[in-house]
Symmetry: C2
Subunit: 464 residues, 2 copies
Amino acid sequence: MTTQELPRDRDEREEREAIEDERVAAVTDLLEAGDPEGAAETLADLRPAEVAYVLEHLDDDEVAEVVAQLDTDVLTDVIEFAEPHTRSEIVQSLDAEALTEALTEMPDDIAADVVQDLDPEAAAIAMEGLTEERRQEIEQLLTYPEDTAGGRMTGQVITVAPDLTVSDTVRSLRETAADTGRPFYLYVTDPHRHLLGVLNLRALITARANTLVTEVMRSDVITVDAYTDQEEAARLLARHNLLALPVVDADGRLLGTVTSDDLIDVLEEEASEDMYRMVGVHEEEDLSGVWGSVRHRLPWLMVNLVTALSAAWVVSRFEGTVEQVAILAAFLPVIGGQGGNAGIQTLTVIVRSMALGRIGLRDTSHLIWREARVGILLGSFTGLAVGLVAYAWQHNPWLGGVIMLALLVNITVGVVAGVLIPMALEKFDQDPALSGGVWLTTATDLSGFFAFLGTATVLVDRLS
Amino acid sequence: MTTQELPRDRDEREEREAIEDERVAAVTDLLEAGDPEGAAETLADLRPAEVAYVLEHLDDDEVAEVVAQLDTDVLTDVIEFAEPHTRSEIVQSLDAEALTEALTEMPDDIAADVVQDLDPEAAAIAMEGLTEERRQEIEQLLTYPEDTAGGRMTGQVITVAPDLTVSDTVRSLRETAADTGRPFYLYVTDPHRHLLGVLNLRALITARANTLVTEVMRSDVITVDAYTDQEEAARLLARHNLLALPVVDADGRLLGTVTSDDLIDVLEEEASEDMYRMVGVHEEEDLSGVWGSVRHRLPWLMVNLVTALSAAWVVSRFEGTVEQVAILAAFLPVIGGQGGNAGIQTLTVIVRSMALGRIGLRDTSHLIWREARVGILLGSFTGLAVGLVAYAWQHNPWLGGVIMLALLVNITVGVVAGVLIPMALEKFDQDPALSGGVWLTTATDLSGFFAFLGTATVLVDRLS
């Protein structure tokens, strides 16, 4: 990114944000002035995602006031775009009748999410008002775990029998004008719903009327099983540049599709999760309640304490050396910090590359050898730099040498551990991003302090 | 994610990876056996993304051997799915004629990327063979910076005049069967290409034949300017659950569209970039050359040295205290580490939430106040825990108290700095993810060591 276009972009983004903030302020002012109708009116011409933004920036009480003034069909659209917390605020503000209406009208996958958010009693009441068919649609989606392709899919797909012609298909498409979420693909299925092929609307329009759909469909369809992890489905979709991915059961019967707009959310969530897990923040941390944040972050700090205190114990074993050469203490944080920094760099690259599917377990030995060389080089340069500073500062070449050695050791250890830890987690079916930092810092602190203070103890006469 | 479905998913992913690795091995074996035709044949029935995967796992020489055996039309497809390095390997293996053919057939946005990769001379030769129209299409795309909506868009869109009926449109769509990348939307434009509305194919099929397109189009289209940052475009698309976003010039004239498959890549790149920048790894780090990695990571370690050495200087000011109470040295890494850990947690959450557009500059004071409370709580709990351990270990309540105070101070400082630093970077139009960690560690180390050793110096008689 060159500096030239930055301001332009920033301006555009800031402008957009300013407009949205003004809307929030206008609504808040009107609510404070006791005019909820007026507040709701300012939202009338906005897009659903924009209304969702405003509601997300109001207090829960304010949301309830505004929601009471909005039509159910507007709210049905907004629910699709709102964050989970606001979504459940909106849903709770609806009466039973409005909720049933909303659950009927919204896409089935969103309806399933809404039902899942409700407490069991409220869910039962809401489901009762639905038609038998709709209830089954929603219940079907609820049978899959939330983070699988089945849990993310919509069951509202258009299927076509293989013996239809193009013109039959166009006619039936006109007749059943039912609104399906992403109506760009038609799926050709046999009477048992086995998936035979996929047809895009463009092909349908440009094909001759009396052609059979089986002649214009693509039959080498990439599909996923309903229990496929959502991230795996998202990667497949991204890799093959698809807009939708059909979801099938173990017998190849079409259950629904996951679409790229759902999977963009999945990739965003997974990236956040990886970033958060690497620093020990719970993935649901959302900067709302203070106590929630403390609960989401404290465990990691406590786990880190074990590392830190074991490093402290190592240092304490060399108390005598430190008493004689107190300046050694000044370099402990340098050694601990640099080993950790170098290791975290490798850890981050490895975790991210694994998440993107670029490397896997099979690359372990190659990467260890590679990173060992990187570590030795980084350790030598960093060690030399710190060693020279120490020499110049304390006028003692031995001190410089001891520090240089310690940095070479613990940067190399850190960088190699940055490969080993996520690979080991993957090997044992754990998330490679999970808390790798603790083990890494343990490795770098212990090796660095041992090397540093151990060598210093041997050379204590040269150092004091 | 429950533990139950994990193994299922892992198996599926591992199976897929195993199949791909076998393909790579088969191709390598055939090449070694001197049978490049056989190697190319094993790729014949694969999807372009799968061929790209195999090529990405071969040496450059091997790529050239395989490419020589593959048809240009196959390679044209594969280029779209290959990583930049492999893409340019493939392109370099093509002769001038094949390259011209590929540039003619591939989507215009990919063609522009390919031309951009070539050295100027090769680019000129390749462009010479193209038709005037095609050359202009590609050159038009090359006028926008790579990381903008214009740089990511395809100019191959279907436009429709507003005075056409639905049946006119369907007829013209049949006649111009030209292959456009994502043929799901038609754009209604006036004779000067001003965008009037968007029409999806579904609406076209279900509308009555003699309806005007202006009656079935949507006119409140969300558009982006060609110079909009690609990440901003991606967020807009994700937020409004769109599959494509029209790109317009300053006068509202349609230039092209960016589609969700492009923008998925953008979001992935931006997430990687944020993760890498936070730990000082260059965004192009790709685990290939050792020296490249050293060059990409060393600068950060050198910058961190300044922090680390300033912390060392602070400690050295208290050399006398450390000489008298050498055990203090053992707790220095604990204090430095925990303040850094707590601060990085906040920094990560803030940087990610800013990237996702959930918080902005306007939230600064609210977030500082919020995080200050989180920091005081985290600092109290962590301080108490370490204080008690120190007391129990060294049988000195004063030591425990000094440590507790230092941790309370530097964890609070770290957590508040975790908000302040990215907000300050944003304020000055810098990337909030950029090297926040250095400043943060400086803040926590200096405040922690001052508090710790300062108090220890005052209470030195109680500690020794």
